[in-house]
């Protein structure tokens, strides 16, 4: 893995564009930089109440008595609500978004627990009071009597007969299988069979902005909820919980201070809606950091076992994989996370004979749900380590084992989905490794190792969700443009990309586009900011709307100038003859002409992802619209006496199809890498008997500025994505290869593998001790 030369790129076309691809200052950047942007907690209304949530102190119990009378009687308390008061309200934890499909039965959680509690932090009652201090005092006045019940914490234990049941009938929240080819024949054909198990912990999203918001009832009786969220379409579930029509809930999403999947679930919205309705006053609820940790979703722990048949030359003849995931106390998006993990379990490799079996079971811990990578990240932790183990067993270079198996465009995945776009796996892996430069020299107590990981990650949602997105674009009479789009901006530049696309198509500078976003009542619904879908879906919708308007402008300009329509380009705020730029009409003038003549310069476009109906009983079929491919490589130094791992070098190379805003793409790759590196090195959201051991930033370690080197970012653009201008998606993909790259580098340094994340110093030393005992290490 030293002195790797980048594989030359295949011929590909990338037309030069005016604004697309440039690292322009984002439209939201300055407001945030000067502190002008108001987030969910930065908002107040007159007469506003402050809310607190009363939560379970234990992981498993029956509620014997809940007496809130003293809390209600405290002066300054406006109301206290319990499960009694919201009796039939269920929190639909399923399928956020716009598709209108039926929720899976059993996927609901109670809005407020009234019979049993299943995890520490589960909501039991709501308080609204004149001040936060009074609301907190009222928490102390609630009398809760519990009968503690047996609890279960490990998914394998949860599936055994006799385990306490959280999810009827057997705690199994989801299970899948994939069957392709003939596993036994494939194994028989193999020269070696290699088996390993890899484990990953709960992980906390650790966004800087705690969940929260403000709700009020407006003059139409509509409940308004101003909240940081990745999904404004939750208004439908909120309406259902409150038993009101869907058009009586308005979700106003704010600029989100980080979500990473945790704000994909409903967090404070239903609580706020109930309290606002009950009191008739505005109510504010902002989680403490401890609540954000304990009572919002976590990344699924997984245990993944690979049994792989391989030929001497590294070709994989058969793959048998089993995955067990921890669903926590309620299902939430577990079935989908499990599906992603199952369908990507083999990695980006062409394998003819595959069996994958997966299961997720409920336990008495914080519920697990979406987190950047969404199961495919966990799958990569396992498959890329397995690939390196295969290399080691066969005595082959890790890169050559990949090369023997990489998917190519036109090949099919384990579920039989054909890869249609560029699959620049070798191109990205070689560039990432090349960027590590000269290997640092080892010393006896400071052992250097290198590792990399390739991956594939979908962008766009599961196609049987029938995903759609809408955007409205208009050109004003002075030639500026407006976009209205429901897109939630969670910090990756979701709304800026739309502006940059419109600016390109309409030929105006970025700063002449204003976007109004994220209001379920007022902006066309654009779906969730999840699943690496916004650029693809809303970007295409904006592109389409802008192109429709551009066509009208060009037609009118052509008349004005006296050339044919296809001779007109929109550029530099003008419509001009491509052959003669001095023959032009200013866009502003053109807009006024069109307005006067009734030519509509606004357009609402809907973009539909391809629709499919689902996998067959063997897990065969298409799932996602497309994939992003890439790699991450690292060089580490392991201190063999302290067990500490120092990350010396980090390089990431991804084919993003087309970069819309280069600085934003760079930022996503650097940021996703950082989360993946933290996942490998130090992040462990741990429980003991259901009690959280890492309740705040003091205990839960995320990397600081001093913990990681700069990740060198190499952006490739094949132009083959199905997003605007050939873009793919990068939000989740950027995280997926980072953790396995580190695990592989550490194994390279030590000669033995630590199969569990995170790679703590104690685990490193234990591995070193083992290796010394076995004579593998001096």
């Amino acid at each position: 893995m030293d002195n790797v030369q980048p594989k030359p790129l295949p011929p590909h076309e990338l037309p030069e564009l005016n604004q697309i691809g440039k690292p322009l200052r984002r439209v939201d950047a300055l407001g945030k930089a000067v502190g002008a942007t108001d987030y969910a907690a930065d908002f107040s209304l007159p007469n506003m109440l402050h809310a607190k949530v009363f939560r379970s102190p234990v992981p498993s119990a029956r509620i014997l008595k809940l007496d809130v009378s003293k809390a209600r009687a405290l002066p300054g308390v406006a109301c206290v609500m319990t499960g009694e008061d919201v009796k039939d309200a269920k929190l639909n934890t399923d399928l956020p978004g716009q598709t209108g499909r039926e929720a899976r039965t059993g996927s609901d959680a109670p809005v407020l627990a009234s019979e049993t509690v299943r995890y520490v932090g589960e909501p039991i009652a709501l308080i609204a009071a004149e001040t936060l201090a009074i609301a907190e005092q009222a928490l102390d006045l609630i009398d809760l009597e519990l009968e503690e019940l047996p609890a279960v914490f490990d998914p394998q234990e949860a599936m055994k007969p006799g385990a306490p049941i959280l999810f009827e009938p057997d705690n199994i929240v989801a299970r899948y299988k994939v069957r392709k080819g003939d596993l036994e024949a494939g194994m028989a054909e193999a020269d070696q069979i290699i088996e390993n198990t890899f484990k990953m912990p709960f992980v906390e999203h650790a966004y800087l902005e705690p969940d929260g918001g403000v709700a009020w009832v407006d003059e139409q009786g509509v409940i308004n909820i101003r909240v940081c969220t990745q999904v404004i379409e939750h208004f439908r579930s909120i309406a259902r919980a409150l038993d009101v029509p869907q058009n009586r809930i308005r979700v106003r999403g704010t600029m989100v201070g980080g979500g990473f999947g945790s704000k994909e679930d409903i967090t404070v919205e239903i609580f706020l809606a109930f309290l606002a309705r009950e009191t008739g006053r505005p109510v504010k609820l902002v989680y403490t950091r401890e609540e954000a940790f304990a009572a919002t979703s976590k990344r699924h722990p997984f245990s993944i076992t690979h049994r792989t048949g391989v030929k001497k030359d590294g070709r994989i003849t058969a793959a048998q994989i089993s995955l067990v995931a921890n669903s926590g106390a309620y299902p939430y998006l577990t079935p989908y996370v499990l599906l992603y993990a199952t369908a990507t379990a083999t990695g980006p490799y062409k394998i003819d004979n595959v069996h994958v079996d997966s299961v997720a079971a409920a336990t008495n811990q914080t519920f697990t749900s979406a987190f950047r990578g969404f199961g495919a990240a966990q799958a990569a932790v396992a498959y890329e380590q397995q690939m390196d183990e295969i290399a080691k067993t066969l005595g082959l270079d890790p890169l050559s084992v990949r090369q023997a198996n990489y998917l190519a465009t036109g090949d099919a995945t384990a579920t039989g989905q054909v890869v249609k776009s560029a699959a620049w796996l070798e191109e990205t892996a070689t560039r990432a490794l090349h960027a590590l430069d000269e290997r640092t020299a080892s010393t006896p107590t400071r052992r250097i190792g290198r590792g990399f990981a390739s991956y594939f990650q979908s962008y766009g949602r599961i196609m049987w969700f029938h995903d759609t997105s809408r955007a409205w674009v208009s050109v004003e009479q002075d030639g500026t443009a407006v976009i209205r789009c429901g897109v939630p901006d969670i910090g990756a530049g979701q709304s800026n990309s739309l502006c940059q696309i419109a600016a390109e198509v309409l030929g105006i500078p970025l700063h002449r586009v204003t976007v109004y976003a994220t209001d379920s009542a007022v902006t066309p619904l654009a779906g969730t900011s999840t699943a690496t879908r916004q650029l693809y879906m809303s970007g295409n919708a904006v592109c389409s709307a802008a192109n429709t308007i551009a066509a009208r402008l060009k037609r009118r300009a052509a008349e004005q100038i006296g050339v044919s329509e296809d001779a007109i380009v929109l550029e530099n705020t003008r419509a001009h003859d491509v052959a003669n730029p001095d023959s032009f009409v200013e866009l502003a003038e053109l807009a006024k002409l069109c307005a006067a003549e009734g030519i509509e310069l606004s357009h609402l476009s809907q973009f539909n992802a391809p629709f499919v109906e689902g996998l067959d009983e063997n897990g065969q079929g298409e799932i996602w619209p497309d994939f992003t491919f890439g790699a991450h490589a690292v060089e580490v130094a392991v201190d063999t006496e302290t067990g500490q791992i120092e990350l010396l070098k980090s390089a990431a190379c991804h084919d993003v199809g087309r970069a819309i805003n280069r600085a934003a793409v760079h930022g996503q790759i650097a940021g996703g890498s950082h989360q993946g590196l933290g996942y490998a090195l130090m992040e462990d959201f741990s429980f003991r008997d259901g009690f959280i051991q890492t309740p705040s930033f003091a205990e839960y370690m995320i990397p600081t500025t001093e913990d990681l080197p700069v990740t060198r970012v190499i952006i490739l653009e094949s132009g083959t994505g199905i997003g605007p201008f050939g873009a793919k998606g990068i939000g989740e993909p950027s995280l997926t290869p980072a953790a396995p790259a580190v695990a592989n580098a550490v194994a390279d340094a030590l000669g033995v593998r630590i199969p569990d994340l995170p790679l703590t110093p104690e685990r490193v030393l234990a591995a070193i001790d083992r290796a010394r005992e076995e004579g593998l290490l001096t």
């Binding site: 304990a294 003991r688 030393l765």
Partner: protein
């Protein structure tokens, strides 16, 4: 350690509990307040105390704010001692050239203390009064043989730091006393080494910390943090090195003895076994640094 939820008495609050806040402008006034209110808790930077109050892991009816008492700040040389006012912030200690020159081991520890924003509020006195077994400034002050000045109305005493810590988060400070300054003897030709192991490179509580001092004509001094109920000198290890040359071999032996005399516990940040093992590694490395800094072996006789 576990985190339970609501009620607030279990720690689920944003607001601090109610307390009275006394804000004297002079040391005399501060001592009077404390004399009249023996249960008042001294508050300086608040970077530990306010956090513990918010989490309800400690209580206070009255806080005595010392941040306005000028006499408690400042760094100066008095005769043969470097005197640091107790309410001097860690940032001020870190930036001070007298400290860097005469108490380099303390300077090094302050570099690793929390993070810059916290250092601008946390104080040396506060770190010592909080008396965490992992207190970052303790091992350096132990090897420097610092003394702690404590004052009450009509009373002043100076306690060797080796007697100051009495248990986890317990010190010899009496309830009517304020820790007013830290006094460090000035040596010449001293070499030092300091190292801290944490769960990450910045803003981390010590898992193990080690401070060493080599004074001409004496055996090296070694202090350990976060591996015993209180910060402590590694007396047995020091004993091994008395009167012998400090060489890589004797350093190794001393390190082994130090790890045996440590009394670490298992906690969230590390197991006792790991900590004990790392005491050996870090003491050995610090002693090696002392050797290397001199460019050779250290004569301890």
């Amino acid at each position: 350690m576990s985190h339970a939820f609501s009620p607030v008495s279990e720690g689920d609050a944003v607001t601090l509990p109610a307390f009275d806040l006394l804000q004297p402008e002079s040391l005399r006034k501060a001592l009077e307040f404390l004399d009249e209110n023996r249960n008042a808790r001294p508050l300086a930077g608040g970077t530990c105390l306010l956090v513990d109050l918010r989490k309800r892991t400690t209580e206070a009816e009255i806080l005595l704010d010392l941040t306005r008492v000028r006499d408690l700040r400042g760094i100066r040389i008095e005769e043969d001692e470097l005197v640091i006012g107790a309410a001097t912030t860690i940032a001020e200690v870190l930036a001070d050239s007298l400290v860097e020159e005469h108490a380099g081991v303390l300077h090094d520890a302050c570099r690793t203390f929390a993070a810059p924003l916290v250092r601008n509020r946390a104080t040396l006195g506060g770190n010592l009064v909080h008396a965490s077994p992992a207190a970052d400034t303790a091992p350096p002050l132990l090897v420097l043989d610092a003394s702690i000045e404590l004052q009450a109305i009509g009373r002043r005493r100076v306690v060797p730091i080796t007697n100051f810590f009495t248990g986890p988060c317990e010190s010899t400070r009496r309830e009517d006393e304020i820790l007013t300054s830290v006094r460090i003897p000035i040596f010449n030709g001293v070499r030092h080494a300091y190292t801290k192991l944490g769960q990450r490179k910045a803003d981390a509580i010590s898992v193990v910390s080690v401070a060493c001092l080599a004074i001409p004509g004496e055996g090296p001094r070694i202090a350990l943090g976060a591996v015993a109920p209180r910060p402590t000198r590694a007396w047995d290890a020091e004993e091994i090195l008395k009167g012998v040359e400090l060489t890589p071999e004797t350093a190794k032996l001393a390190a082994k003895v130090a790890s045996e005399e440590a009394r670490p516990i298992d906690d969230l940040r590390g197991s006792a076994a790991y900590r004990r093992r790392e005491v050996e590694v870090l003491v050995r490395r610090c002693l090696r640094q002392l050797i290397d800094d001199q460019g050779g072996d250290v004569d301890g006789s």
